[in-house]
């Protein structure tokens, strides 16, 4: 009852403002610029709609979109012009200084990755142009950024580079740090796309696969917000999207990541990562099902069972042991319920006088609610195959 009251109160308090804010944000999207049908490549043969994927995609992401939004095209063109002028200035200044300009770009990229993996921020910065950057980090900030990497136990692994154009090299990497270790996830994959000009690195785009890292990061941010709210602004920038890399922040990061690693919050984040993956697997099955949303209970049982085995591979912290014992037992019941539904047989008797009966939709809903109510990261594992 309190839960219901709580939600109703929150909806009454925040709902009107949210409706206005979301409605106004959505109104930024208008139909005005959509003058060209992106279905020019849509064909109907034998009554079946066929889409040319290649040309359809290009129609939206390439020439057609630019035609629809000349202002954006103008801004992009102006930005490109500014970058070209800036690069030209850099090139000219280096030529004036008599610096050789014929070093192969793969050699520059290799040097960059070697220094990056070694944690040599000064070395990385020395390979950059004066106005170069790695993601949002300017060249001059790279030594401090690598100090922060050390504080959080970051380890990059060089997974190889490939020249993709006369001026660009893509270098794949995998990353682990104390947060990923605390949560027990596999190394996070990413790619640096280096633009090399005149023997120096002009810019690096950092394309990290954040599908998993997002939730780990969010869990830590929430932990800091709860446990050390006064330090939040000393550690993060841009709505907690990036770390601050000054010495005060780095000191706080080193201490708090270590605290977080042994906490209930880290174990819950691990459970959440595992169950989110299970939920995504289930959703993939839903999307692929010909009946548009029907997944066999047997398949659901397998997904939950595999997730449960992964969860149990690492025991929970003592303080969270009791809650996870309950949660894992509930997941076991969920697997049993799915198996019984799959076999269309009654549930096993729980005592000599009990009457076996198959799980009803109400039983299943109650089970799912109990799992979610624990709030220990198992919600994603509570897949609903009864729809």
């Amino acid at each position: 009852v309190n839960d219901v009251d709580d939600l109703d109160g929150l909806e009454r308090e925040l709902g009107p403002g949210l409706r206005v804010a979301l409605g106004r944000a959505a109104a930024e999207i208008s139909d005005d610029g959509r003058t060209t049908s992106p279905w020019a490549s849509l064909d109907a043969r034998d009554g079946v709609a066929i889409v040319d994927l290649e040309s359809s995609s290009q129609a939206t992401t390439g020439r057609e979109r630019r035609r629809r939004r000349p202002v954006i095209a103008w801004i992009v063109s102006a930005a490109v012009a500014v970058v070209v002028v800036a690069l030209a200035v850099v090139v000219l200044s280096r030529l004036d200084a008599g610096k050789p300009a014929d070093e192969p770009i793969e050699a520059v990229a290799d040097s960059f990755m070697t220094a990056w993996v070694r944690g040599d921020g000064e070395g990385v910065a020395a390979l950059m142009s004066a106005d170069g950057s790695v993601g949002v980090w300017s060249a001059e900030m790279l030594p401090a950024l690598h100090d922060w990497f050390r504080a959080v136990g970051a380890q990059y692994h060089d997974d190889g580079c490939e020249v993709t154009s006369p001026a660009t090299v893509s270098c794949r990497y995998s990353l682990q740090n104390d947060l990923t270790r605390a949560v027990g996830v596999a190394p996070v994959a990413g790619t640096f796309v280096l633009v090399v000009d005149d023997g120096v690195v002009a810019s690096v785009a950092d394309r990290i696969d954040t599908a998993t890292y997002h939730d780990i990061w969010a869990a830590f941010v929430q932990w800091v917000r709860t446990k050390h709210p006064a330090d939040l602004d000393r550690m993060f920038a841009s709505d907690a999207s990036y770390p601050l890399v000054d010495q005060v922040s780095i000191g706080l990061w080193a201490g708090y990541v270590a605290q977080f690693s042994g906490s209930d919050a880290a174990y819950i984040a691990r459970a959440d990562a595992i169950c989110t993956a299970a939920h995504n697997s289930f959703q993939d099955l839903v999307a692929a099902s010909p009946e548009n949303g029907t997944v066999s209970t047997d398949a659901a049982a397998r997904i939950v069972e595999e997730a449960l085995a992964t969860l149990r591979a690492v025991p929970p912290p003592k303080d969270a042991q009791a809650r996870f014992d309950v949660g894992y037992a509930l997941l076991e019941q969920l697997v049993d319920a799915f198996r019984q539904l799959a076999a269309n047989r009654p549930a096993p008797a729980t005592g000599p006088d009990s009457t076996p009966s198959p799980p009803s939709p109400g039983d299943l809903a109650n089970l799912l609610h109990q799992i979610d109510y624990l709030q220990i990261g198992l919600t994603g594992c509570a897949v609903n195959a009864s729809r």
Binding site: L10, E11, L14, L22, A25, A26, A49, R65, T379
Partner: protein
């Protein structure tokens, strides 16, 4: 919080009644009882509504348009088997947008409104905090307060139990309340 937002409530009426308001977005998409409509017709009538929904979920117009395009491209291959396009398309947009939202997490820091570019900072603050929610909670908030879906309908779109959706919503609103005070 309500006191800060209350002066802006009059805009609900303005936005809701405007030609481009969200209340009209789905006006031509819902009735499929007479059988599947042609793909292109559904595209034309639902593009705006879907793109707005995707925009609220990913926070970037280009990404939102790509999401909708990809959803229709996928749907085209199986159009004849889709029973209710409005439900299918909405669910597909939410699922695909959720993936994009996670991938573009780092890019979120680039969302910094220029000084003087907004008239009501409180509204932008609300929108900014919504963008910072975890992907599932954000989807629940958008579906609840933009699409005006019931908890049961949201559960159907997201493929989550209604009780879980209720928890997601409560947590999201609690987080927003904590951020706004």
């Amino acid at each position: 919080v309500l006191g800060r937002i209350a002066p802006l409530l009059s805009q609900v009426f303005v936005l809701g009644c405007n030609d481009s308001g969200w209340l009209d977005d789905w006006r031509d998409v819902g009735d499929v009882s007479s059988g599947p409509q042609p793909l292109e017709a559904v595209y034309r009538t639902s593009w705006l509504a879907l793109t707005r929904l995707a925009y609220l979920l990913v926070g970037d117009r280009t990404e939102a348009e790509d999401v909708v395009q990809a959803v229709f491209t996928t749907a085209a291959a199986r159009w004849e088997t889709i029973g209710d396009p409005s439900v299918y398309l909405r669910r597909a947009v939410v699922n695909r947008a959720s993936d994009v939202h996670r991938r573009s997490f780092r890019a979120a820091a680039t969302f910094v409104p220029a000084d003087g570019s907004v008239d009501e900072p409180e509204l932008d603050e609300v929108w900014r905090f919504v963008k910072g929610l975890p992907s599932v909670q954000r989807a629940v908030v958008v579906l609840r307060f933009y699409e005006d879906l019931s908890l049961g309908e949201i559960a159907s779109v997201l493929g989550r139990p209604a009780s879980t959706v209720r928890s997601d919503l409560r947590r999201a609103l609690a987080t927003l309340k904590g951020s706004l005070v």
